[in-house]
C-alpha cells in the first residue's frame, strides 16, 4: 500500500543527511541497510497512525534536533554497587566508566562489536526488532537499528553478581543520541541492567534481549533528570523455557517519553513482568507506555502493572496488549493500568487489549483513573499530617503496587526515595 504523501515527506525530511554508520563489518552493514530499507517502506510515524493516536510523534520527527537545557538533578543509583558504563551524548565515555570487566559477563561497546564476528550478535541484531514489527509498525525502533552507532553488548554466562549500570550524560544542548544495547542471557545465567541519567536533547534507545532457557534478566530504569527529555525507547525480548524477564521504569517528568516494550514468550513456563510508574506535573509533560506481550508457549505468566500520577495538564498514555497464540494454553496474563489525577487538568488515555486464540487461559485487564481519596486524605490530616505531605503519602501508596514489581528490595527502596525526594521538591 502506498504511503500517504505527508508521511513520505516527513520521513524524507527526517532522513535527509543521515548516513548509515561507517565502519561496521559486512553483516552489520547488511542489517543496517535492511533496516533503512524497511524504514523507508513503512515511513516514520505520524499523527494519523492508530498506534500514535494518543501521542504526537512530531518531537521525534523534526529534522533539526531540539534544544534542551542541560539540567542537573539528583543522580540515580548512586548508592548501588554496580559496574558503571557512561555514554555522553550517545558515545561511550571511557574516562567516566568503570573498567569493562566483570565475572560471568562478556561486555563490550556496540561500536566495537559491529566490527567483529561475534556469532550471537550477528544472529540477533535487528532480528527481534524485525519480529516485533508484526501487526504494528515500530519505525522508531527500525530507525534505531539503522542508525545506532554505540551502546552496550552484554552476554551473561552465569549469575552476574554486580548489576551493570548504564548512565547517560549530556554535554551538548542540542545533542542527538541513538544507542543500541544487545543482551544475551545464556542458560541459567542472570543479569541486572540499570539505566539512568539524561540521554541527549533527543534520545532513541533500542535494546534486544535474548534469554535462553532458565535465564533471568532484570531491568530497572530511572528517567527523570531531564525535564526537557524527548525519548523514544524500545526493548524487545525473547524468552526461552523457564526464563524470566522483569523490567521496571520510573519516569519523573520529561517532555515527551514513549517507552515501548515488546515481549515474546517462546519457551514454556517463562515469566515476563513489565511495570512502571510515571509522575508528571505540567502541561508540557507527556508520557506513553506501550507494551505488547505475545504468549507463544504453554504455561507462561505475564504481568503489566503501570501507574501514573498526573497534574497541571500532564498527559499519561498506556497502550497494552496481550496476544495469546493458539498453542499457548495455560497462559496467565495480567494487565493493570491506573492513573491518579491530582486535578481536573490532567489527562489519562488508555487502550488495554486482549487477543486470545487459545481456549484454556486466564487473562485479566483493568484500567482505572481517579482522583485522590478524600476520605483517606482527611484521615491523614486528622492525625496531624499537613495536606501536601498527606497527598505525597497517598501518591506513594498509589504507586506502591508498581514498585512492588521490582524484585530487588534495595533497588525498590532507591526508587522509592527518588520518588519521595521528587515529590518533596515539587511542593
Amino acid at each position: 500500500m502506498a504511503l500517504p504523501k505527508a508521511k513520505i515527506d516527513a520521513t524524507e525530511a527526517r532522513l535527509s543527511g543521515m548516513q548509515i554508520p561507517e565502519g561496521g563489518a559486512g553483516w552489520a552493514r547488511a542489517a543496517r541497510n535492511d533496516a533503512l530499507e524497511r524504514l523507508t517502506g513503512m515511513g516514520l510515524p505520524y499523527r494519523r497512525d492508530e498506534y500514535w493516536r494518543f501521542t504526537n510523534p512530531a518531537e521525534f520527527l523534526a529534522p533539526e534536533t531540539p534544544r534542551a537545557e542541560i539540567a542537573l538533578d539528583a543522580p540515580g543509583f548512586e548508592d548501588t554497587q554496580a559496574l558503571r558504563v557512561v555514554f555522553t551524548d550517545g558515545v561511550f565515555d571511557e574516562a567516566a566508566s568503570d573498567d569493562l570487566s566483570q565475572e560471568a559477563l562478556e561486555i563490550e561497546r556496540f561500536a566495537d562489536a559491529v566490527t567483529k564476528d561475534i556469532h550471537w550478535v550477528k544472529g540477533l541484531l535487528g532480528v527481534l526488532e524485525t519480529a516485533g514489527q508484526d501487526r504494528v509498525d515500530r519505525p522508531l525502533a527500525t530507525f534505531n537499528t539503522a542508525f545506532a552507532e554505540d551502546g552496550l553488548v552484554l552476554r551473561a554466562t552465569g549469575k552476574v553478581a554486580r548489576p551493570v549500570h548504564v548512565e547517560y550524560r549530556r554535554a551538548g544542548e542540542q545533542a542527538e543520541a541513538v544507542l543500541r544495547h544487545m543482551v544475551r542471557i545464556e542458560d541459567g545465567a542472570e543479569l541486572t541492567l540499570l539505566e539512568s541519567g539524561v540521554g541527549a536533547a533527543r534520545l532513541n534507545t533500542g535494546m534486544e534481549v535474548d534469554i535462553a532457557d532458565n535465564g533471568a534478566f532484570h531491568h530497572v530504569r530511572m528517567q527523570g533528570r531531564d525535564h526537557e527529555r524527548r525519548a523514544a525507547t524500545h526493548a524487545f525480548a525473547r524468552l526461552g523455557q523457564e526464563s524470566t524477564f522483569k523490567s521496571f521504569t520510573l519516569s519523573l517528568n520529561g517532555m515527551m517519553t514513549r517507552n515501548e516494550v515488546v515481549i515474546t514468550l517462546k519457551g514454556g513456563d517463562a515469566v515476563a513482568h513489565v511495570a512502571g510508574a510515571a509522575l508528571g506535573d505540567g502541561r508540557d509533560f507527556h508520557h506513553d507506555d506501550t507494551v505488547f506481550v505475545t504468549h507463544d508457549a504453554v504455561n507462561c505468566e505475564s504481568r503489566q502493572v503501570f501507574k501514573k500520577v498526573l497534574r497541571n495538564g500532564a498527559t499519561g498514555v498506556f497502550q497494552g496488549k496481550i496476544l495469546v497464540q493458539p498453542d499457548a494454553q495455560k497462559t496467565d496474563g495480567y494487565q493493570i493500568s491506573q492513573s491518579l489525577l491530582l486535578d481536573e487538568d490532567a489527562n489519562f488515555l488508555a487502550k488495554p487489549e486482549l487477543e486470545i486464540y487459545a481456549d484454556d487461559v486466564q487473562c485479566s485487564h483493568g484500567s482505572t483513573s481517579g482522583a485522590i481519596d478524600e476520605t483517606a486524605l482527611f484521615y491523614l490530616k486528622s492525625r496531624g499530617i499537613p495536606e501536601d505531605k498527606a497527598q505525597d503519602l497517598l501518591v506513594l501508596a498509589f504507586v506502591a503496587e508498581a514498585l512492588a514489581e521490582i524484585e530487588d528490595e534495595g533497588l525498590a527502596e532507591t526508587l522509592r526515595e527518588q520518588l519521595a525526594g521528587w515529590l518533596e521538591r515539587r511542593r
Binding site: 478524600e374 492525625r383 496531624g384 503519602l393 497517598l394 506513594l396 503496587e401
Partner: protein, 251 residues
C-alpha cells in the same frame, strides 16, 4: 476543655440544617457520652469538630482550651490536641502503619515547635505503647488498616491515640462492628488512657459500650440538638425504653 456553644451546621452542598444549636461543655478529665437515634447529628458533630470538608458552620462556636477550633485546618486541630477515632478507619494500602504513625507524630511535634524524633526512638516508643495495649507488633508492619479485622482497626485507632497523646478524644461509634470481646479490649485501651488532663466524648447508639467506658455525663441528641443530659443512669433509661419515649417526654 471542650466548649461548644449554640453550634449550627448545614451541609455545604445542600440546604439541609444538621446541627441546630448544640451546647456542650466537657471538663478536663471528664468522659461525656452522646447517644441518639440515627440522623440526630452525632457523627456530624464529630466531623465538624475535627474539620472534615462538606459542612458549613452557620452559627455558634467550638473551642479547645479556649482556642477556636473552627478556623483551623484538620491537621492544626490535631496538633492542638484533638483526636477523632473514626467509625470506619480508612484503609491505606502502600503506607506502612509505622510510617503513618511516625509521620503523624513528628508532624504534630513540628507544628508545636518541638523536635522531631528519630525512627529508632520512635520505634521504641511505639513498641511500649503497643505492649501496654496488648497490640501485636505485627500490626505495626502492615499497611494502615489493610486486611485488619473490625476489632484490629479500632485497636489501631486506640494505638494512634496512645501515641499521639491528645487532650480531647472523640470516639465516633467505636463499638460499631465489634463483638463483645473486641469491645472489651478496645474499652480497656480507652480506660487505660483516661487521665486528669484528657477528656473523652464518646458517641454511641447503644448503652452497652458505656458499661465498659463509664461516662461522667450522658447527653441525648435528637434532631440536631442536645435534648437531655444526665448521669450514667440516663443511658440505662434509653436502653430500657428506647428513644421514642424520651422524645415524647422532651416534647
Amino acid at each position: 476543655m471542650l466548649k461548644i456553644s449554640d453550634l449550627k451546621v448545614k451541609l455545604e452542598e445542600e440546604d439541609k440544617q444538621i446541627l441546630k444549636g448544640v451546647d456542650l461543655e466537657v471538663g478536663a478529665g471528664q468522659v461525656h457520652a452522646i447517644m441518639g437515634p440515627n440522623g440526630s447529628g452525632k457523627s456530624t458533630l464529630s466531623y465538624v469538630l475535627s474539620g472534615r470538608d462538606g459542612y458549613e458552620v452557620t452559627g455558634g462556636s467550638a473551642s479547645l482550651e479556649g482556642v477556636d477550633l473552627l478556623d483551623m485546618e484538620p491537621e492544626e486541630r490535631a496538633a492542638a490536641g484533638l483526636f477523632l477515632a473514626f467509625q470506619y478507619p480508612v484503609e491505606i494500602p502502600g503506607v506502612g502503619n509505622m510510617t503513618f504513625l511516625r509521620t503523624s507524630y513528628n508532624a504534630q511535634r513540628k507544628a508545636r515547635g518541638e523536635d522531631e524524633v528519630s525512627a529508632a526512638e520512635f520505634l521504641k516508643l511505639v513498641r511500649e505503647k503497643a505492649k501496654d495495649l496488648k497490640i501485636d507488633a505485627e500490626m505495626l508492619k502492615r499497611p494502615v488498616n489493610v486486611g485488619f479485622s473490625g476489632g484490629e482497626k479500632k485497636r489501631n485507632e486506640i494505638l494512634q491515640m496512645a501515641v499521639l497523646e491528645p487532650k480531647m478524644c472523640i470516639l465516633d461509634e467505636t463499638d460499631s462492628g465489634l463483638d463483645v470481646d473486641a469491645m472489651k479490649l478496645v474499652s480497656d485501651g480507652v480506660n487505660a488512657l483516661r487521665s486528669e488532663g484528657r477528656s473523652f466524648l464518646v458517641i454511641t447508639h447503644y448503652q452497652r459500650l458505656l458499661d465498659h467506658i463509664v461516662p461522667d455525663v450522658v447527653h441525648i441528641m435528637a434532631n440536631g440538638r442536645i435534648v437531655k443530659s444526665g448521669g450514667p443512669e440516663l443511658a440505662l433509661e434509653v436502653e430500657k425504653n428506647g428513644y421514642a419515649d424520651l422524645m415524647d417526654e422532651v416534647q
